[in-house]
Symmetry: D2
Subunit: 375 residues, 4 copies
Amino acid sequence: MKDNENLKIYNLADIGHLKVHGRTTNNRSPLTLFWTGSGIELNVTGSELWIEVECDYDLYEPWIHMLVNSAPVSRRMLTAGRYWVCVFRGLNENAAKNVRVLREIQAMSGDPACSLQIHAVKTDGAFLPVPEKPYKIEFIGDSITSGEGIIGDKAETEWISMWFSAVDNYAALTADALDADFRILSQSGWGVLTSWDNNPNANLPRYYEQVCGLLAGEKNEELGAFEPNDFGAWQPDVVVVNLGSNDGGAFVSPEWKDEVTGKVYKQRLNEDGSFNEEDASNFEKAAERFLHTLRQNNQHAHIVWAYGMLGMPMMPAIYRAVEAYTRKAGDRKVSIFQLPNTNEETVGSRSHPGALSHQQAARELTGYLKGILAK
Amino acid sequence: MKDNENLKIYNLADIGHLKVHGRTTNNRSPLTLFWTGSGIELNVTGSELWIEVECDYDLYEPWIHMLVNSAPVSRRMLTAGRYWVCVFRGLNENAAKNVRVLREIQAMSGDPACSLQIHAVKTDGAFLPVPEKPYKIEFIGDSITSGEGIIGDKAETEWISMWFSAVDNYAALTADALDADFRILSQSGWGVLTSWDNNPNANLPRYYEQVCGLLAGEKNEELGAFEPNDFGAWQPDVVVVNLGSNDGGAFVSPEWKDEVTGKVYKQRLNEDGSFNEEDASNFEKAAERFLHTLRQNNQHAHIVWAYGMLGMPMMPAIYRAVEAYTRKAGDRKVSIFQLPNTNEETVGSRSHPGALSHQQAARELTGYLKGILAK
Amino acid sequence: MKDNENLKIYNLADIGHLKVHGRTTNNRSPLTLFWTGSGIELNVTGSELWIEVECDYDLYEPWIHMLVNSAPVSRRMLTAGRYWVCVFRGLNENAAKNVRVLREIQAMSGDPACSLQIHAVKTDGAFLPVPEKPYKIEFIGDSITSGEGIIGDKAETEWISMWFSAVDNYAALTADALDADFRILSQSGWGVLTSWDNNPNANLPRYYEQVCGLLAGEKNEELGAFEPNDFGAWQPDVVVVNLGSNDGGAFVSPEWKDEVTGKVYKQRLNEDGSFNEEDASNFEKAAERFLHTLRQNNQHAHIVWAYGMLGMPMMPAIYRAVEAYTRKAGDRKVSIFQLPNTNEETVGSRSHPGALSHQQAARELTGYLKGILAK
Amino acid sequence: MKDNENLKIYNLADIGHLKVHGRTTNNRSPLTLFWTGSGIELNVTGSELWIEVECDYDLYEPWIHMLVNSAPVSRRMLTAGRYWVCVFRGLNENAAKNVRVLREIQAMSGDPACSLQIHAVKTDGAFLPVPEKPYKIEFIGDSITSGEGIIGDKAETEWISMWFSAVDNYAALTADALDADFRILSQSGWGVLTSWDNNPNANLPRYYEQVCGLLAGEKNEELGAFEPNDFGAWQPDVVVVNLGSNDGGAFVSPEWKDEVTGKVYKQRLNEDGSFNEEDASNFEKAAERFLHTLRQNNQHAHIVWAYGMLGMPMMPAIYRAVEAYTRKAGDRKVSIFQLPNTNEETVGSRSHPGALSHQQAARELTGYLKGILAK
């Protein structure tokens, strides 16, 4: 191999035209990618481009997806260590290329050792401005929004990084169709009030105001995961909340016991199979509180609760929560949208929505958001 | 990261149940992958699997595609060097996984330094038998069969490894639909008689009987590229020849001059735009000779000349060549199939068939081959 | 033409194996077809089949659709008069043919002269039993459920019979996919509380308990349109209510004045464009009352309010109405399903859902009802 | 019913702006519709339009399809007699409507009594010019081009008018996509040399120069079916020949005996299943002769032999025939196009191409003809 002697290394902090996707801290030396779909975007000339990554994990290794001029060219696991990854080589050095390198997997609350950072890029080209897109959308969700199950044969059942996708999920597809920048905050198994197995700590609202508060451990603290998020720096036009699937699951899952306090948590069913009213009401209050939190931090955004890709037992409760919030807050910029259900033809691995289901959801949601953004 | 201390290294030569795809030599220490779509297949238990690759290049770097239980999970560039690549980790160690690691790019006749080898695999699992598929198909073609243009935005024009795909091309899709093992021999720009630019050396038939004779250089000689191919080891049920597009292009491209002999080569058009009869006849004779070569080496295969994904000006000449061959050889197991043309909706990058065009071609060709294989 | 001398005439009343579709009276001499999708079904041998129709109108002529072995073979206008229509001829006289002749257009409340009756059939064959289907579904709706706009170029704007379809609308497609018999009660422009233009008389609930009470005039009285419906004779498994689109329209349409009483009706918007709470509440009460009416007459049916093919501004109010009804009635067999919205690609004539929109709605609704019917 | 007193009757001969589709005589009092896809086209204002038809038959009754502003609004059988058929009513009398009334079934060589004529139209509107389309295409074929099997359940096996379609067949779809006027000459079971059952009289070429010479009987003679066709009046830009399927079938069908001469006809197979060379050669000569006939009568047309919707065993022979013709005639405006084969998903009734197969064929053929028409 002939070395390309014209390559120069640039620390991310030194690139004026760097565009960062996803919630993170202000640190660029290095940049930490916490959430699925987070990453960097560059418009760059030159024949060759590399990125220097550093990552670690005990259980769940990170994966990235690299896109060149919007085409997904490479999806790969990143094994532990600090090293250079080549994005492209052999191109016309005068032409500008748009490059996105995105974290393909969700924040891993189950593996405090999991981390992914980008230190630098190496190129023989120059950096050009990356324009803002006309819209910004934030997606908040669970495994569906994490793209769990998009990759892999339908028979796959194991919970591993490899079956997740940030690039083919409905959030990315919707943002792409609307020409919008997007951020995703998502966690498999989590809900508005509890997780699928009744754990009251595993809810997204609790951590909404931190950079990535659902992570744990000293390392993540050092990385700034628990810092308050700088909402002023990125105000979305739309916030899409795709939560409720796990809250629904809690009604049909075993109780969860807090090993410290001994307290037991369980969303209960009535004998006729309907939801216990008090428990459903607790979900509604949690949803209502979350809407207040969202509005407090996102002043002008239209908030859309989008739900239904894995059934919709919580929909009446979601309507009640939005109704209660709207009445109290006098806030009309909140609405509900039912996403198309996943069926045998559109299911992916791990009984989750597959690529076809995500495409269908994106098509419907795009149509709905177009109407909202046109107002 | 915690090291997995149960991993054991196996040289390919020591794996009894290794299945090798694609034409190559008998050497497994290491295994050289010459052609697009070539690679290894394993049925393996264990939680983790790595492969040790070694590659080099001056111009065109290799890419690979990794499939787990038939799902394409990773597509990545391989930069120069010898190193380990992780295929999967974190899986149930008792379950068997089917793994294929395939070379994603064609043999690179334009870069004698380009090489890709697999030395070993590393796993905490055991190897199980990989059954033969019911059919074997060999595809012989040009850039179309190399999958050039399947990846990348339509505006891309540069000739680089990144835009090729072995996994999404019509050959792989057809073989998959027919539950067949397949081999591809292909080279962008090459034809039956000459290349698109009238170079008489750039034709596939000349090198058909060698392992990968279209490569050049001492290194490839050492790798065994010029050895005679062992036809007895792999007899296809069908040979698909998708050649002619570049022979057609030669009629509308400038002449080619042999710098050594000074001789000039040019397929000529008549004044009315039709093909010069003598030159067309030279193409036909080359096609006829190639059919004899194919039959000599593939005794029981049905030979299908499949052509048309980028127009079909050579089709009458192909019919004449097959007619002449059939009459002389008394061989009825040769037929012609017109593939659907690429259009504005199905085109990919570099004005080549895109993923949709390959899917359509595979659908039609599969239907046609089903009829043949059912006989 | 040679006359078929073996044809025999059978009055409908004399055919033991006649299956009648759609709400109508007990009279079969002749049978009156009031609603879209109503008609007759026969399993009949013989080479030839005719039906004797009688119809009249001042404004809106009837159309019928004829299906042979489920294939739609003929769609035609019926001009005024009493005459014979040939369904098929020249078939093998021993084979049984399934035949359905369906009214293709809605009950025409705007034309009291409009009527369609079937007197008799004529055949050289014999009648065989027509089995019941496993399920029965009743659809209640407006122009969408009347199939308005399925036929005709997108530029068509005139309100005429020709643009309606009973056979290609989502109700028929859903019933077909679920192997269900179905009935449709629908009226363009009508709603739950008022019509699109605030007329409080133009609501479906008011006439639900009559055979076809929304018609007017002495002729329809004689035909039995105002008789009480015999609910015991046909109890659906599912009632689908697709109403609300016109109630939503009333908020943005001019007031309606009762010329007799001088009273003015208008669903009002607040200054900020939201619905006046009192007026929305009136809609909700009407919806809630309708649910009580539906349950009273359909004891075991699951009631599904399916809404959204032309936007969904009334959805929160529908959720409130269903909530209120469920709480008071303690009836859990009521749910809400959001149908996919119509877009530029799926729209038909008269700015109404086109064939593609109906197909998409049917696909989603079928999936939803499958889940309900499986319980 | 209130009579529309403004209706006026116009004999076809008296309508200046009448556009006639399909080969027929010069007679317009009445106009005889011989071929499938033939008919009349009007641009007409007025609220109402009727046509006066007259038809008869012993076996196979005619069907028509009526299109208003390109939308197919009605498909119906025409029973024997002379009577008025309403096309539309109730429309805005000032707006212009484009109306086509097309014969839906092929010329019926098997029923000399079968005839369909249009005498007059009746309207309260006025006639406007109907512009010529930019292109003219003539289609010559067999049952495929007659649209046999497009209508009806896959299980249908009887040969009756009801299963044919002129409007949904590939010829009409292709012409529509290319914005071309079209004519169809087609006959189920017929070929270039013989019919599917070796009858040498049942070939299209023999009757090509007559208006509709394949019909028989005195009545058809009186109607002018055997008159020479006026080629000068309609010169196509493209002639599509979709023949060969029945010539192929003759090789695997029983012999045909001329009851008058006692002569027996049979296209023979060799023992190995290949075509007897002499018999194949007879087909080729017939095809070659037909090309001469076509060129003689259509001076500037590009001739495309399009074949393959029900397999393609005759393709090599077709290539040989075109080759021979081209060499002798020095005519380069002849080419061959393989149409996509019908499969289990696209088949219709009577084991013939269904609507999906015709749509696919039209898509591919349209792409091919676009290239030709662009030259």
